[in-house]
């Protein structure tokens, strides 16, 4: 979680210096959701993500260097500089795409689960989406289809209370995304998304159920983004008091306190861990800043896949 936090904070800082181009949607405050969920996955399991993808990418096992290089637009990035922040893909770790279109990842996740069935594989797909996405037609069609076909997908709603500037209750009548589950006769749960162990425990159970052929679950993780919607957002639509209150609920601080209390972690280990993370992120930034940009001719590559049936 600390890695996710520092990485995003560093990206923000570098963006302010003009080094990282484009629209960056940071996940500061939401780390427990990504880390708790991905900790429950096997390497062959897949995830789909959103425009707020950096945390999911790292939590799924993505390389911080390769992430940073991609954000910088360098050829050494996971997408050779072509995807950027909202379109990260890493097939090696089962990261089936961040997405610039709200809700577009849900049908793709359903398809990846369908693919498991067709191929006779037992991977599960965890589909991350935000509270805003639950009002998209794609949400409805995807949950219905996954439920009626009993597919191995876990729908994980990262409810950070806002779709850009609009709070959830201005967008829907029911208070929770989990309330939608009754439409599809799906099991659902609402959990504290800032409690990484709660996330891990709940998603583990949902994944097991999916793997055993019991179909999808809708899990709503209540959390909050400390960052603005995007880096540079005035954030004027949020009450400072609200932000301050959630700062007291920091998922990293909570887990840190827990580990210290349990004696699993010692204070000096925390120091050392933080230093290691800083080093990792420093190295990632150094890697990214030093890596070359793709040459202009690369713009026309990869529009189409060459060949047929998986040939190169």
């Amino acid at each position: 979680m600390r890695l996710l936090r520092v990485s995003d904070e560093r990206v923000a800082e570098r963006a302010r210096r003009g080094e990282v181009p484009g629209l960056l949607h940071l996940g500061v405050g939401e780390e427990a959701v990504a880390v708790g969920a991905c900790a429950a996955l096997r390497p062959e399991d897949k995830i789909t993500s959103t425009h707020r993808a950096h945390g999911h990418f790292l939590a799924k096992g993505g390389s911080p260097k390769v992430l940073m290089a991609e954000l910088y637009g360098k050829e050494a990035g996971c997408c050779r500089g072509k995807g950027g922040s909202m379109h990260l893909v890493d097939m090696n770790i089962g990261f089936l795409g961040a997405n610039g279109v709200v809700g577009a990842g849900l049908p793709i996740a359903v398809g990846a689960a369908l693919g498991a069935r067709i191929k006779g594989e037992d991977w599960v797909v965890v589909c991350f989406f935000g509270d805003g996405a639950n009002n998209e037609g794609a949400f409805h069609e995807s949950l219905n289809l996954a439920a009626v076909w009993n597919l191995p997908v876990v729908f994980l709603c990262e409810n950070n209370q806002y779709g850009i500037s609009q709070s959830i209750l201005s967008q829907q009548k029911v208070a929770n995304v989990a309330d939608r589950a009754v439409s599809y006769d799906l099991p659902s749960q609402i959990i504290d998304g800032n409690d990484v162990l709660a996330v891990f425990g709940t998603i583990s159970k949902a994944i097991d159920a999916a793997r055993q052929g019991k179909g999808p679950t809708l899990v709503e993780c209540m959390t909050y983004r400390i960052s603005g919607h995007y880096e540079g957002d005035s954030d004027a639509y949020r009450d400072l008091g609200e932000v301050a209150a959630w700062l007291q609920n920091d998922p990293i601080q909570r887990f840190q306190d827990f580990l210290l209390n349990q004696g699993v972690l010692l204070p000096e280990e925390v120091e050392s861990l933080f230093r290691n993370v800083d080093t990792t992120v420093d190295e990632a930034v150094a890697f990214a800043t030093g890596a070359p940009y793709p040459t202009p001719d690369k713009a026309e590559k990869h529009v189409y896949a060459p060949g047929k049936r998986g040939t190169s």
Binding site: C79, A112, E141
Partner: protein, 330 residues
């Protein structure tokens, strides 16, 4: 070789591809026991079972997106969307997701899916069941766009499309489903990106695709009686366009008419005329001509629909007039 309909030829391609590769599957509304809107998937459910012939709810976003996701993880969906007019309901999953996945992932991911849709007017089905929208798809890098005009091409191109690792938009004119033709029984391929000279000629080139190819051939036969020898180029694939074949024909005849059923403005004919003019201007003896439907929604009353379909009637005069234009001074 067997004489069969266009729909049967497509059915044959499904059977061969699905027998050959257990990861090929068919998905769409009413494609199971119903056999698809046009009978293209008839019998497949009995042969391949429910796990490979998937009837779906009316959920175009989900089924198109699911086809993308299933393709990304290594299966090969053949998706049927009954009418191209409905593509708006799932457009994002096609032009933003399927088309861009390979590129945005830097080549890591492939989306080997086929999206089959029926297009075209002539059955009085009205505004939402009669359009030709191929131009939309050709505008999107990352998509391939195929429009076979005969049963033999339909089967061969569908087999190629299924095998292609890119998303292929496969457009079938409704009028052609019952058209009969000779088709090889076993597997064969018609390459994507290769046009076909449906009729050799030396005086005027008619470039067409899908149903308009038949209009072009009928026109050519009519005009042969008047000593006008037309060459008919059936594009078969719109994207990637086989420029070389078109160029070779234009260089030979110096006169080109492009005929399509879709509305004139922004139709794919504009792209062909632009390329011919930009690149092969010196071969031209007269300005290129387009013959297409007027810019109107498709009416359902037959006489009004016939007005929409006037390219069929106007093609012959357009070719005749172009042929009569004096040679340019060198």
């Amino acid at each position: 070789m067997t004489i069969m309909t266009y729909a049967q030829a497509l059915n044959g391609a499904h059977s061969i591809a699905m027998k050959d590769d257990p990861l090929v599957f068919a998905i769409g509304q009413d494609i199971g026991s119903y056999g698809g809107y046009y009978g293209v998937t008839a019998g497949l459910l009995e042969t391949f079972g429910k796990e490979r012939v998937l009837d779906t709810p009316i959920s175009e976003i989900a089924i198109t997106g699911a086809s993308v996701g299933a393709a990304v993880v290594g299966t090969r969906p053949i998706l049927e969307i009954g009418f191209v007019d409905f593509v708006g309901t799932c457009w994002d999953q096609i032009f933003n997701q399927a088309a861009k996945f390979c590129y945005m992932s830097g080549g890591q991911a492939r989306v080997p899916m086929v999206i089959r849709m029926a297009c075209g007017a002539g059955l009085a089905y009205g505004v939402h069941h009669s359009q030709s929208l191929e131009a939309w798809f050709t505008h999107i890098p990352g998509l391939k766009v195929v429009m076979p005009s005969t049963p033999i091409d339909a089967k061969g191109l569908l087999l190629s499309a299924i095998e292609d690792d890119n998303p292929v938009i496969f457009l079938e004119h409704k009028f052609l489903y019952n058209q009969q033709g000779e088709v090889p029984d076993g597997p064969y391929r018609i390459p994507i990106g290769k046009a076909h000279i449906a009729r050799k000629g030396k005086d005027v080139t008619i470039v067409a695709w899908s149903r308009a190819v038949h209009w072009a051939l009928a026109t050519a036969e009519e005009l042969a009686n008047d000593g006008i020898d037309c060459e008919v180029v059936d594009l078969r694939t719109l994207s990637p366009l086989d420029e070389a074949t078109v160029a070779h024909s234009v260089e030979k005849t110096g006169r080109v008419v492009v005929c399509h059923e879709a509305c004139l403005t922004g139709g794919f004919g504009a792209e062909i005329v632009a390329r011919v003019t930009e690149k092969f201007f010196d071969s031209l003896e007269a300005p290129p001509v387009r013959v297409a439907a007027p810019d109107i929604p498709v009416p359902s009353s037959r006489p009004l629909e016939n007005e929409y379909l006037r390219p069929e009637r106007r093609l012959s005069d357009a070719v005749r007039n172009l042929n009569a234009v004096s040679h340019r001074r060198i």
